[in-house]
């Protein structure tokens, strides 16, 4: 499947479920499609940033949820322990603390030739639900 077709299938699928308009297009060219949206986290007033990244030269398409920022460095070890536990428990989400101290969850959708936009969009929702379930425990570590 060509990169152009992959991109158009994804944007069509997002449009079909009336979700495309909520995304900002950060990059859209021959090499990359980078979409970003800010969404409320389930049952809270807090927000997360969801990014979708497709690249022409990679077999992986990414969904990334930027959940919160760790400000108090003393809690880094406790946070990393919690994220390790989530990584052990979660089937599809990978939790990390990045260099800028943002707590992220991500999904790698692997497929060099086969890209199913419907499946990919479904994963955005599945990942969002998983991240929302983890969020209260992350907040506990940030605020306790």
């Amino acid at each position: 499947m060509s990169f152009f077709l992959k991109k158009s299938q994804l944007t069509n699928e997002l449009d079909n479920i009336n979700f495309l308009h909520s995304f900002d297009v950060i990059q859209d060219d021959d090499n990359t499609l980078f979409l970003k949206t800010v969404q409320k986290i389930d049952n809270t007033e807090d927000k997360c940033v969801i990014c979708l990244i497709l690249e022409s030269d990679r077999s992986y398409s990414l969904i990334n949820y930027s959940i919160a920022k760790l400000v108090n460095h003393e809690k880094k070890e406790m946070m990393l322990n919690l994220l390790n536990k989530f990584n052990s428990d979660s089937l599809i989400l990978k939790y990390t603390l990045d260099e800028d101290n943002f707590i992220n969850a991500s999904i790698s959708y692997i497929g060099a030739n086969d890209f199913d936009a419907e499946e990919f969009v479904n994963l955005i929702w599945i990942g969002y639900q998983g991240m929302s379930r983890a969020y209260p425990e992350i907040m506990k570590v940030l605020w306790c």
Partner: protein, 143 residues
């Protein structure tokens, strides 16, 4: 692609690559396929357990590499930080320490029916194993 065909294709590709005979078949029925092999990962005869898990009712086909065990708990924090760095820089693999202090690498291949590509799945297992060998060399110095 139905589950029987998915299983058949994966086992066929493993056979073609002369890998199937190294796997123990722990489960092979209408619900699941569970394969496990022990592979040497360095000259000291350290081993990695590779498990392949496919389920009839799940879009996730899983590859697990258990490649080390943390014996000293005082090193757990530094290993978890190291694994977090690996996770940040790696798209394919997810690393963690499990409840029994095993250091685990995990690949989740998502795909049902027409989106399951068996040759891609078997290639991922091999690519993942190469990565585990590199990671083991680094982590061995820490533990």
């Amino acid at each position: 692609m139905d589950f029987e065909k998915r299983k058949f294709e994966v086992m066929d590709l493993l056979r073609d690559a002369d890998l199937l005979e190294s796997f123990d078949i722990l489960e092979d029925d209408k619900q699941a396929l569970l394969l496990r092999t022990y592979q040497q990962i360095d000259e000291s005869k350290a081993h990695c357990i590779i498990s392949i898990i496919m389920s009839n009712d799940s879009a996730y086909s899983l590859i697990y590499y258990i490649f080390a065990k943390l014996a000293e708990c005082d090193k757990k924090a530094s290993i978890i930080e190291f694994l977090n760095n690996l996770n940040n820089n790696n798209v394919l693999m997810k690393y963690y320490i499990d409840d029994e202090n095993h250091i685990v690498g995990n690949i989740n291949y998502i795909g049902l029916d027409k989106n399951f590509n068996s040759s891609e799945f078997v290639s991922l297992m091999e690519i993942g194993f190469s990565e585990i060998i590199d990671t083991y060399a680094k982590i061995n110095k820490l533990i």
